[in-house]
Symmetry: C2
Subunit: 155 residues, 2 copies
DNA sequence: GATGAAACGTTGTGGTT
DNA sequence: AACCACAACGTTTCATC
């Protein structure tokens, strides 16, 4: 990494992780910078890829999806690549990671109800063995990424 | 649910899930509503809890965290409650869900490096058995929640 | 929901250290 | 290179219909 983030950068990241619609002028007031200075720093954070984007979080239950589940997949021989293509077309999947370990894939999915879940799992069995965990409650949701303590920085 | 979301609501949700900093005036232009009309609908979506918040997404690697991992926990007898209290104080944990199945808890964590991961797991073993999966790549990240097809709605 | 006006925020230019 | 000051422009918000 050929850049350094100072504490003003982290104040800005903290503010935008808490509320992505916060005004740059308001953030500037809180940290002692003028609006153009904040705008410049935000633009740079975006250009560097530190800020990947801004999104609204929609409640799956309030949007009509009663269930949220974690599904892992242990792909059959030669079935991982076809799955990786197919998964992009599945509207139910909101997150999907390739992982190490006994399973290859872990997904977070939203589903209308138990029947929807059943049909969804049925569509996956051609690709591998699945294991399903229903999410009962969200203990922590999208906690902000914090600055590494200075002694811990490896930059 | 004692409310109904029409296609204008879903256009607004789509726009804000794609870019939470999009201007309400711009969204209005795209869907044929005046700025105050969009603002009113957004306010109502927030008040209903359909929109839970707006977040900037920060790249864990660009922020100095080389590793992201999924860790599951199968809590020992009587150790789930203490864990649920403790986990809120762990800066590494960006998501944590209670789930059904053999494990009770699944967490998404960001870590500086393998040594940090090792120390983090050490801190968990008092609460239960853990299983760790390193995230190799993100196939799908925060895909938007879409409208249920009308025939599928159970409202 | 629309309109119009006032308050506020963002963005560009130019200048300072 | 990073910031400030100021001005033009766009956006949000509020009253009113």
């Amino acid at each position: 990494m050929d850049y350094k983030l100072d504490s003003l950068h982290w104040s800005i990241l903290g503010a935008l992780q808490k509320n992505a619609r916060a005004s740059l002028a308001g953030i500037g007031r809180a940290i002692g910078l003028t609006p153009p200075a904040v705008a410049e720093r935000v633009k740079r954070l975006e250009d560097l890829g530190v800020i990947e984007g801004y999104w609204a979080s929609v409640s799956h239950t309030k949007a009509g999806y009663q269930l949220k589940a974690i599904i892992t997949l242990r792909a059959f021989m030669g079935k991982l690549k076809p799955f990786l293509e197919q998964v992009k077309t599945l509207e139910e999947v909101i997150n999907c990671y390739r992982i190490t370990g006994n399973e290859n894939i872990i997904m977070e999915v939203v589903l209308r109800d138990q029947f929807h879940l059943e049909r969804f799992i049925d569509r996956l069995i051609q690709y591998g063995e699945t294991r399903t965990h229903i999410i009962l409650s969200e203990v922590i949701s999208n906690a902000p990424i914090r600055r590494l303590s200075p002694t811990e920085e490896t930059q």
